[in-house]
Amino acid sequence: MDNLRSSIKAGDSQKVEDNLKRLLERGEDAKDLLDNMIESLREVGDAFSKGEAFIPEMLIAAKAVQHGADFLNPELIKKKVPKIGKFMIATVEGDMHDVGKNLVAMMFRGNGFETIDLGVDVSPNMLIEAFDEYTPDIVGLSALLTTTMGAMKASIEALKTKFPHSKIIIGGAPITQEFADEIGADGYAPDANEAVNSARKLMGNKSNSLYPEVES
């Protein structure tokens, strides 16, 4: 298990896969392995939030865990382990910046969420259509520019009007908790790691136990 963790931190996807293969053969449970990977990613995420790890370290760990989670997926399906939740993310209309958004998407995937990435410059109408199609537990909206913060507000209004129970978290360089409160977002996160924490909180009981066993 230590090898698995160190290969995640080194961002070595192939080694992550090799370790998982070995551990599964040894009889380890796929869900435990996934939980372990999530824990490793959280450690990197916490270091990132504290300014002890940076974009390169965060990116490679998130990608490695994503690779590992994909590798475990058939096993998890076989065991009927559901995803922790469904997360849909977009950069709002008028904004083409995607590095922060991609990092958040990776963190959610790595943390066991089914993640739908709608891309950049996504209009309120596109969000509504996608929400209707995917029914995510949590929606994440990203903006880097102050000029597109208005589009964030319009997106939340549109989603909340059509889907009053939707849960929306927002983030991006100019975004603050005050702004999130003002425009009716359910959560704000200053970084990708905090976004996952915020989503978990908003999901309440549903996220209390990771990968709850499903009655077969």
């Binding site: 961002g11 300014g51 940076f54 974009i55 390169p56 990116l59 083409m96 410059d121 102050t146 100019p174």
Partner: protein, 383 residues
């Protein structure tokens, strides 16, 4: 004291007659949308022209610079002869490839061009040698710059600032590679990061040599830059900065020092406070844009820690105050900035980055008027 003396005094960490003002630079200028509104507010009946196609900003005309009390005049390189700005209409919007082969798109909903194609996304170190690099000595870059710089020097009225950042060698590397891939490489493919940075730096040094041979003797300030930080922290660790970036900044600075006596202005957005000691160590004279809403970028703290070693150029918040405040809020922001950073000189005021398209023209005007009102030395006790 004229504008030139005002700026030079502030840059030498002494108090001039008032805090100097800048507008019209690479990223210290104004969106064409706001500029046109500002012109109407000033009763000027004409439209501004886009000067920087990428950011859709203007180079304000002389009458407006005078009206606003701007103390700087900028020398920008010309357009390269080997490349033409020719946006193509595509399904998604207007698409342009710049002289480096990087693709940018402006969709109907976006206010300027954004990177959408990185030609070296999948390249190996070997591929770098065969890439069709632009010619850093293209004659178009220097067209007219000597004449303009000499004319300004002869007038001896304004501080002359050379915009010879050439979109920065550091950011050029990740634009060619793609930002995400570049930062992945920084962890997993470090030799590639060194190779691409070395290549773009080599071209940048040739460019600097080319333009400074033309007009270096006339410049008071030359700008360099490259964003190394985000809202909360630097994008890379201090160790990585010192391995990948700092030695190359040093090479550029060494060349600049040989070619001009101009002060060196370094633009780096974001929460960059942890890098300032290294910038000072490199001999960088001026830090821009002083993004005061980023973490650890409090004006008073920066002044107290580094104010006697580096000049602050910028500082009026574009993330909250300029777009969402009232003119009174802008005035208070400027007063606060002057109170914290102007004592002893060492401050040139402008907005943090370009004045964006969502800034009301009244707020843009308030920035300049507030410096004229509150920026006189000796500083007012009621600041």
């Amino acid at each position: 004291m004229n504008s030139k003396e005002r700026v030079l005094t502030a840059l030498n960490h002494q108090e001039p007659d008032r805090v100097p003002l800048d507008l019209g630079g690479w990223v210290t200028t104004i969106s064409v949308i706001t500029y046109n509104k500002l012109l109407r507010l000033l009763g000027v009946e004409r439209e501004g022209e886009v000067f920087d196609w990428l950011r859709q900003t203007v180079a304000p005309e002389e009458d407006i610079l005078e009206k606003l009390g701007v103390d700087t005049r900028w020398i920008h390189p010309g357009k390269p002869k080997s490349w033409t700005f020719a946006p193509k209409e595509t399904e998604k919007g207007l698409y342009v490839e710049d002289e480096w082969g990087c693709g940018f798109i402006k969709t109907p909903t976006t206010l300027y061009y954004n990177l959408c194609y990185s030609p070296l996304a999948k390249a190996s170190i070997e591929d770098l040698e065969n890439y069709p690099w632009p010619d850093p000595c293209d004659p178009g870059y220097i067209e007219g710059i000597r004449e303009k710089a000499k004319m300004l020097a002869d007038e001896n009225e304004y501080a002359i600032v050379g915009n010879f950042v050439w979109e920065t060698w550091y950011e050029r590397a990740w634009k060619l590679r793609g930002m995400e891939q570049f930062y992945m490489d920084m962890a997993l493919n470090r030799d590639f990061v060194h190779a691409i940075l070395e290549k773009v730096l080599e071209l940048h040094l040739n460019f600097l040599d080319h333009v400074l041979s033309e007009c270096g003797e006339f410049l008071d300030v030359i700008i360099q830059g490259g964003d190394l930080a985000g809202q909360e922290t630097t994008l890379m660790s201090l160790d990585d900065y010192r391995e990948f970036v700092k030695p190359r900044q040093k090479k550029a600075i060494e060349l600049i020092r040989k070619k001009t006596k101009a002060k060196i202005f370094y633009h780096c957005c974001g929460a960059v406070s942890s890098l300032i000691p290294d910038f000072i160590d490199l001999g960088i004279d001026i830090l821009n844009p002083v993004q005061v809403r980023a973490k650890g970028m409090d004006a008073g703290m920066l002044k107290a820690k580094y104010g006697n070693k580096i000049v602050f150029w910028g500082g009026v918040d574009t993330q909250q105050v300029l777009p969402t405040g009232y003119p009174k809020d802008v005035e208070n922001e400027v007063r606060h900035l002057i109170r914290e950073m102007a004592p002893g000189g060492g401050l040139v005021v402008c907005s943090v980055h370009n004045i964006q398209a969502d800034v009301p023209p009244e707020n843009a005007l308030a920035l300049f008027n507030s410096v004229l009102r509150w920026g006189n030395y000796p500083l007012r006790p009621d600041l």
